[in-house]
Amino acid sequence: MKLLAVETATEACSAALFVAGGILERFEIAPQQHTKLILPMIDSLLAEAGLKPADLDALAFGCGPGSFTGVRIATGVIQGIAFGLDIPVVPVSTLAALAQGFFNHNTAELDVVFAAMDARLGEIFWGVYQRDSQGFAQLIGQEVVTPASLVVAPELRGIGVGSAWSVYQDELQLRLDDKLSYFEAQHLPSARTVAKLGVHGFAQGLAVGAELAMPVYLRDKVAKTELERKSV
């Protein structure tokens, strides 16, 4: 199977190609440059593999949560390609990709990640992930958008991963207390892990058609209606 993946929900912009059992990747930290970079990245991946767009079998994308605009760039790109080629799409959580990136590089006995990314407006995107028997990041409970001081975690010891751990380290440490082993804030989600989770999700039957490949924002209330403004 040949699967193309993109991840643009944070300041990192990346594309990856799963082909012949391996993964090729382009990755750049490039705030505001995603629209310029993403298609050339995809193009160069296919060129390296000697493939044409029509050779692709499936797609995966980091569907968020993350920057609303960033998530929509990935969604738009993937919807356009999926519809153009009539191939299926596996939506992959950006928090899962973040956790998976950590698991890929760490074989320590600690198998739980507290994935947390800054969501602005005093909140964070939060999800607890556990490494399953095959090494894939698996969500425990639900992903939420929440103030850092109110996060909910199961009775498991884990590692904090993601940008919220630099912005809200005090609140998170206080809240998690001895459930927290240590944290590493510098990790970013990447298309490589989206591809890995995408291939896995595809095998599990999680692929959908282009029009069902949708962003996950978590924050759903973004404006007040006229009625709501009047009643304040």
């Binding site: 193009d43 767009p53 390609i81």
Partner: protein
């Protein structure tokens, strides 16, 4: 060549297919107006969210109803600006990557060039050169048009656009969003009882200013007993002042340029009284006047597919693989095609 056109610059998701020889094949539009009206105006983030939900289903339906498949397409045109950044990005990212997947050219279209060329979709299209009056939600432009991309700006609004003046005045009259068509309907029930100013008509030049009319409307509304009839009369008076002002400036521009064709486009050109006033003025000047059909005055995919098709035929694939969205993009920067 079949060209798919995609428009997502503001609060309508619109798509169309134009064929270089056969003309317009099909067009569809989904309006977000009901959603935004609850908020009293367009909420950019909600607009972007809705575009990404609706765009692909709309393209799918468009192709199906046209009896076409992806492989029939020779190019994809999308509105790259001006407009709301997030909304533009949805159309741009989807269009550009769909074109990449099909290995066909994509072309970034200027929204106002789309409006300007909309009358080309009618049975008797105007020939170049002509004078164009573009009146929409964000723009009021008088342009000397020698050909596609050959534009000379003659005049513009120094403050509010005409459509904006309509919408703001409608809001003051307690009409919902978007107010232009509602104010116009209310004006039908009234007469021009109050003499509104005709801004900037008493001095030379082709620029406009409409923010004063809005203030005048506010004062007039406050001073009136606010009965339904008062409101209708104020609406009629306001609309008459706009129609008159536009006519005076267009007459001046026709005489100044020696042009004998006038094209009127953009959302406000759907207004019947403005159409009537401009038609009367043009007749007096021995000029021919051209409008788009009402549904192509406001945002639509057909005008984008048409404009993109012209640029594609001319071999203007003006971009590499960047997904282009330009919220601000002066129309005079466009390149000419012959």
């Amino acid at each position: 060549m079949y060209v798919l056109g995609i428009e997502t610059s503001c609060d309508e998701t619109a798509v169309a297919i134009f064929h270089s020889n056969k003309g317009l094949v099909h067009h569809l539009l989904y309006s977000q107006i009901d959603m935004h009206s609850e908020y009293g105006g367009v909420v950019p983030e909600l607009a972007s969210r809705d575009h990404i939900r609706k765009l692909i289903p709309l393209v799918k339906q468009l192709l199906q109803e046209s009896g076409l498949v992806n492989a029939d397409l020779g190019g994809i045109a999308y509105t790259a600006g001006p407009g709301l950044m997030g909304a533009l990005l949805v159309g741009a990212a989807t269009a550009r990557s769909m074109a990449w997947a099909l290995q066909i050219p994509a072309v970034a279209v200027h929204h106002m060039e789309g409006h300007l060329l909309a009358p080309m979709l009618e049975d008797k299209p105007p020939q170049f050169p002509f004078l164009a009056l573009l009146i929409s939600g964000g723009h009021t432009l008088l342009v000397h048009v020698n050909g596609i991309g050959q534009y000379k700006l003659l005049g513009e609004s120094l403050d509010d656009a005409v459509g904006e003046a309509f919408d703001k005045t409608a809001k003051m009259l307690g009409l919902g969003y978007p107010g232009g068509p509602k104010l116009s309907a209310l004006a039908e029930l009234g007469t021009e009882k109050i003499r509104f100013p005709r801004p900037m008509t008493d001095r030379p030049g082709l620029d406009f200013s409409f923010s004063g009319l809005k203030t005048f409307a506010m004062n007039t509304i406050n001073a009136s007993p606010k009965t339904e009839q008062d409101k209708a009369d104020i609406a009629a008076s306001f609309q008459a002042a706009i129609a008159d002002t536009l006519s005076i400036k267009c007459r001046r521009a026709l005489r100044q340029t020696g042009l004998n064709r006038l094209v009127v486009a953009g959302g406000v050109s759907a207004n019947t009284q403005i159409r009537a006033a401009l038609t009367l003025m043009a007749a007096g000047e021995n000029a021919d006047i051209f409008f788009p059909r009402a549904q192509f005055c406001t945002d639509n995919g057909a005008m984008i597919a048409y404009a993109g098709c012209q640029r594609l035929i001319a071999g203007q694939i003006i971009e590499g693989q960047a997904i282009t969205a330009r919220p601000r993009w002066p129309m005079m920067e466009l390149s000419a095609i012959d």
